[in-house]
């Protein structure tokens, strides 16, 4: 039974730098795609959020509240709590406070019925609302970023020992380990590509690293900038990457994309 290779025509990784968006928000701390991948949300060190349209017009759209799900905002904070805020009733106090973590929450993801948190205490906690269970996986090193795989079976956890670990969601077993980047002091993002074929991570050496998810071999190194690449986000459907470094966000696309014209900068 031969391994069904993905269609060769399909580009898997963003290898081409398309444009740079000058955000003017100070250092961009996090950059995210929205659900359909049409907008990108950046949050800067000047305490602003900016929603931009990286694909076509590079205009500021709005300053928005960060919202993971339509009805609940879940915020992880440095005081080691995860707070679930209700958007509907707009209660001033959180619906529930998840204070199981022993140290600050560095990363947080939501799925349909799960809350995945990565904490500096070196644990990846998964709150399963449907089953009413809390799964706590000890990784050892402070977690910087967590994310679900697209199929919802695995959990990718980046930790400060410069390692990304792919853990099985159900059993907590390690399925893969990815090293090569540098992550020792900053809260760096890790991503899974849109088809779960590759694992990506920001790095402190100014590159974005991509590994083959299965083989674990380093597939790509994108030279994004000289400073720390702090946040990256992968497009939900396209091989398209946003990388935030220093004060700007860069958009990377697949090779096959016709060149629109280099680095652009917003009229700030």
């Amino acid at each position: 039974m031969a391994f069904p290779r993905p269609r060769p025509a399909r580009p898997e990784l963003p290898r081409k730098h398309v444009r740079t968006i000058e955000c003017g928000q100070g250092a961009v701390r996090a950059v995210r795609f929205n659900v359909d991948g049409n907008y990108c949300l950046t949050c800067g060190s000047d305490k602003t959020l900016k929603l931009t349209h990286p694909m076509c017009l590079l205009q500021k759209v709005n300053c928005v509240q960060f919202n993971e799900e339509a009805t609940i905002i879940v915020s992880g904070s440095i005081d080691s709590t995860v707070r679930c805020w209700d958007c509907r009733s707009r209660r001033p106090d959180p619906v529930q406070v998840l204070d199981e973590a022993k140290d600050g929450i560095s990363s947080l993801k939501l799925s349909a019925s799960e809350i995945l948190t990565g904490s500096v205490d070196g644990r990846v906690r998964r709150y399963d609302l449907r089953a009413g269970q809390l799964y706590s996986d000890y990784v050892g090193s402070p977690i910087t970023s967590v994310c679900f795989s697209k199929d919802g079976q695995c959990v990718l956890a980046a930790s400060l020992d410069s390692t990304l670990r792919l853990l099985d969601k159900e059993t907590g077993e390690m399925l893969g380990e990815y090293t090569g980047h540098r992550s020792t002091s900053y809260r760096l993002d890790c991503v899974l590509s849109e088809q779960d074929t590759h694992v990506g991570s920001a790095s402190e050496d100014g590159n974005v690293y991509f590994w083959d998810l299965v083989e674990g071999s380093l597939a790509l190194t994108l030279p994004v900038g000289r400073g720390v690449v702090q946040s990256i986000a992968f497009h939900p459907t396209l091989p398209c990457l946003l990388a935030a470094t220093e004060g700007c966000v860069q958009l990377w696309r697949e090779d096959t994309l016709p060149a629109p014209g280099g680095v652009l900068s917003t009229p700030e």
């Binding site: 140290d103 402070p142 059993t171 077993e173 893969g176 090293t179 540098r182 809260r187 050496d205």
Partner: protein
């Protein structure tokens, strides 16, 4: 009633009920009216609502609304200016329907005989019978008379009595022969208004008086015998129940019949009765629910005032107010009336009699004459003699006691503090806690503090001892000065010091007592040197001086505001159980185990903790997820109360460890089956995962072999024990293959087990392997190095990986960019804390065992597996997997067998285990614990 048979032919037949009308030709049989249409309708064809079940039901207004179909229409407004005379007063009848005014309505208009005047028997049959009887009877026309005057409601008892010859007003009993009473109007009663014609009343009575035939007997008087039974009830003294004569006929009955009653002997009573009769109720009278048999009618509050309601005759109280009430004999009643004093005193209780002569009036003393120079203000003269030393103290005392001259009062009114005012006003002291801080400490802590204090004091004493002589030199001067100074300072505060609940030395009752007396004497204005006598004479001079200072300080410290503030705090309502603390029921296990598990890259069961977690209901709702625990009210992790300082709080036994400690090997295997440990190979995936259908794991498992093929050159370094054993013992394994395969699902690789028991199993297996084992330490280093030199980017061996990481770190950090990062670090958010104990130290740890045989052997395992794969490369993948599994199981089986063999000398093996595994560092922790628990 039986219908009379109309036809002569059918005389024999007896018919009951009304006959149906004979059916006519061609007429269709009427359908019976269905039940739902059998409704009751009133005269207007409206459905009866059956309001008022006892009055036959009625419907109010138009379908229970008002008036007509259009509803209630208010009458058109007519200005009263023009038509003032037309204004009519609306009565209740104006708002009634016709039905209400009809015979059966609420307010019937027709004149009918009311109940009071209706004849006894209303039904006509009886009437007829009586008419017949009246004709037949001896005196004809009685029934007609009866109809005319017969009172309405007569009970059967009265009727029976009447039948026996009793008449109203007579007593019951045998007739007696007596002289009838002289009936004379009361001389004192004067009759105003029209008096009865004298001839009518007195003449007849006189006649009666004179005519007294001997043989005439009279009916006994209607007098209730005086009840002389002792009082047994709980009614008040003098309580008389309802008057049965009133109850017998009710108010109306009395009015009619009392004409002939006993009271009517009195002519004044006759008038009274008339008056009673005239007390008619005017306006609409009505009773909502009727009056009970023994009740009187309520006073008509709506009655209009008429003159007739007032007494027009000056006379005694109504009869029945005397001692015996209505039961009082006539003689007593008349006698009583002579005594006028009784009137305003009221009833005289049994056993009492009126005093014959009035008591002497109270003597009133005149107020004394005031002296001419009297001024109604009192001056309190202070007791303390004024001295310049005690001036402040005096002032304070004066303030506190309020004994101040008029001039001083004006000044100090504003100078008073809250507590002084409180004392002046006589308010209660606010309940504050004893403000000693020590009160709040636990017993243990207090003792500890005490010990510390004692120790320090002893130290101090020891230190001070040599200094004592020098100190004593200053002593005579210093305490005086100090205390004087203190006294000056104390000023206003001293007033309350020690007075109330302030107990600064509550812990030391002796000292507290001393303090209190000290303060008391201080208040009284004693001199400082005399104050010293309240101090402990056993103490040294220095100590005494110190204590005095302490007392002063304490007195100073205690201000009124202190107590005011203290009152705001209350003692804990409940003994806060310091021993108990609420802790999560499940706690994350010990990190040490996990640390080692992470080190071995055995993620999974070992590193995972699973807790019951209760999400908030709203959260579930928002996530569109059913609440997993619908009946629980817990949110978050369930909590348990435990001892605060229990050892068990800190000693958390990790689950995997305990599971390993199970006695039987079977259990061990089962438990381990769930937690499949990882081999050092980075892509090692357990069988369970392989069987998973999800994309990634399949992807991985498939690619793993590929990757192995590509990356690992098939260089067989040494033959592996497992494979060898598997290959050399195929016959044995074949028999049990099927069983094993079935068990395969539940029982996974024995890798962890092997890792733990590898030495024992290897010992038992063959001499070859042993030799391999022994050789391994030397070769493993070379192996790891060679693989490391192979330069595979994602090197599989953990050791190498770690070492690479360690190597890489300084290299990376020395990059020029890193310096800039440092500069910009703050801009990029807070640096995360350095990885504690797991990052750096952990790596350091692993560097050392890299050369140790343990991981080397693991690597060997891995290699062997790779070798297997290469061998079976040409085969079909699935088959390969299966076979691989087979081999594994075989190996396992063998292991199991060997363990079973060695089960007799487990201790030996474990001993040897420990010996052999002392070199094996990574699972050492696990093993050690396991061993400890096995013993």
């Amino acid at each position: 009633m039986a219908a009379d048979s109309s036809d002569g032919e059918e005389e024999d037949l007896v018919n009951y009920g009304t006959a149906l009308q004979p059916l006519q030709e061609g007429e269709r049989i009427k359908k019976p009216v269905p039940l739902q249409e059998q409704t009751v309708k009133d005269a207007k064809g409206r459905y009866q609502r059956f309001h008022g079940a006892f009055t036959g039901g009625f419907s109010a207004g138009y379908f229970n609304t008002v008036g007509t179909k259009e509803g209630w229409t208010p009458s058109a407004f007519i200005s009263s200016r023009q038509k003032r005379a037309d204004r009519t007063v609306l009565g209740p009848e104006d708002f009634m329907d016709e039905e209400d005014l009809s015979e059966f309505g609420i307010a019937p208009k027709d004149i009918t005989t009311t109940d009071d005047f209706a004849s006894k028997a209303k039904d006509r049959i009886k009437e007829k019978a009586r008419q017949i009887a009246g004709v037949v009877a001896a005196i004809p026309g009685t029934s007609a008379l009866d109809d005319l005057i017969g009172p309405s409601k007569i009970t059967i008892g009265v009727e029976l009595l009447r039948k026996m010859g009793w008449k109203e007003g007579q007593g019951v009993g045998p007739r007696v022969k007596r002289k009838p009473r002289r009936q004379k109007p009361d001389p004192e009663v004067k009759i105003y208004g029209c008096a009865l014609p004298p001839g009518l009343s007195e003449g007849s009575e006189d006649e009666e008086d004179e005519y007294q035939p001997e043989n005439v007997t009279f009916a006994p008087k209607d007098v209730m015998p005086v009840d002389l039974t002792p009082k047994e009830n709980v009614h008040g003294l003098g309580y008389k129940g309802l008057d049965p004569s009133q109850a017998l006929f009710g108010a109306s009955g009395r009015e009619h019949l009392n004409l002939f009653a006993a009271d009517s002997e009195d002519p004044s009573n006759l008038i009274g009765d008339v008056r009673n009769n005239r007390r008619r109720k005017l306006g609409i009278t009505g009773q909502a629910f009727g009056v009970g048999a023994l009740e009187e009618e309520d006073d008509d509050i709506y009655a209009t005032e008429t003159l007739s309601k007032y007494d027009t005759v000056l006379k005694d109280e109504e009869p029945g107010d005397g001692l015996y009430g209505w039961t009082a004999p006539k003689e007593y009643r008349s006698k009583k009336r002579s005594e006028t004093e009784v009137k305003y005193i009221g009833k005289i209780l049994d056993g009492f009699s009126l005093a014959s002569k009035p008591s002497a009036p109270n003597k009133i003393y005149l107020p004394p004459d005031l002296p001419r120079n009297y001024r109604p203000v009192h001056y309190f003269r202070p007791v303390i003699a004024a001295g310049n030393e005690n001036y402040h103290l005096q002032k304070v005392l004066e303030e506190s006691t309020g004994k101040l001259g008029s001039d001083a009062t004006q000044q100090s009114r504003h100078a008073l503090n809250a507590s002084q005012r409180r004392e002046q006003l006589g308010e209660t002291v606010l309940k504050g806690p004893a403000p000693s801080v020590l009160e709040y400490l636990s017993e243990k802590d207090r003792e500890r503090l005490k010990e510390v204090k004692q120790a320090s004091e002893q130290q101090m004493k020891a230190k001070m001892l040599p200094q004592q002589p020098r100190n004593s030199r200053f002593q005579p001067a210093s305490p005086d000065d100090a205390s004087h100074k203190w006294q000056m300072l104390l000023g206003g505060q001293l007033a309350n010091a020690g007075s109330s609940d302030f107990k600064p030395f509550a812990r030391d009752p002796e000292k507290q007592r001393r303090y209190e007396s000290f303060v008391k004497s201080l208040k009284q204005g004693e001199k400082v040197d005399t104050l010293e006598r309240y101090l402990d004479p056993n103490m040294t001079e220095w100590e005494r001086g110190r204590e005095q200072e302490e007392f002063f300080r304490a007195a100073m410290f205690y201000k009124s505001s202190n107590s005011a503030l203290a009152s705001r705090f209350t003692r804990a309502k409940y003994e806060d159980d310091a021993d108990k603390v609420e802790v999560p029921r499940d706690q994350e296990n010990d990190i040490d185990d996990k640390e080692s598990a992470v080190k071995m890259k055995m993620f999974g069961k070992l590193t995972r903790d699973k807790f019951e977690w209760h999400p908030e209901k709203l959260l579930c709702k928002r996530f569109n997820v059913p609440d997993p625990y619908p009946e629980s009210s817990i949110v978050g992790l369930p909590k348990v109360k435990r001892d605060k300082y229990s050892v068990f709080n800190f000693l958390t036994l990790s689950e995997p460890t305990t599971s390993v400690t199970q006695d039987t090997n079977e259990r061990k295997q089962e438990n381990n089956s769930v937690s499949k440990p990882k081999k050092p190979s980075r892509w090692d995936i357990s069988d369970k995962e392989k069987e998973k259908k999800d994309s990634i794991s399949e992807f991985i498992s498939l690619a793993r072999s590929k990757a192995d093929l590509l990356q690992k050159p098939p260089v067989p370094t040494t033959e592996e024990s497992g494979t060898k054993a598997a290959e050399t013992l195929p016959s044995e394994a074949d028999n049990e293959n099927k069983d094993q395969e079935q068990e395969e699902e539940s029982r996974p690789s024995m890798d962890l087990f092997k890792a733990i028991f590898v030495s024992s199993s290897d010992e038992k297996s063959s001499s070859e392997e042993e030799s391999d084992e022994e050789q391994q330490p030397s070769t493993s280093v070379v192996d790891s190095e060679t693989t490391g030199q192979a330069g595979l980017p994602g090197s599989s061996s953990s050791n190498i990986q770690d070492s690479v990481a360690v190597k890489a770190e300084p290299g990376v950090s020395s990059l020029p960019a890193s310096k800039q990062e440092q500069n910009n670090a703050e801009e990029f958010g807070p640096k995360l804390p350095p990885s504690f104990s797991s990052g750096s130290t952990w790596q350091q740890e692993t560097v050392v065992p890299a050369s140790s045989p343990g991981p080397g052997r693991k690597e060997k395992h891995k290699k062997s597996r790779e070798k297997h794969k290469t061998k079976r490369d040409h085969k079909h993948k699935k088959e390969k997997k299966k076979k691989h599994r087979k081999h594994k199981t075989k190996g396992k089986h063998k292991n199991k067998k060997s363990e079973k063999d060695s089960s007799s000398d487990t201790t030996d093996s474990s001993d040897s285990l420990s010996d052999t595994d002392s070199t094996n560092l990574s699972p050492k922790e696990l093993l050690r614990r396991l061993k400890q628990l096995q013993y």
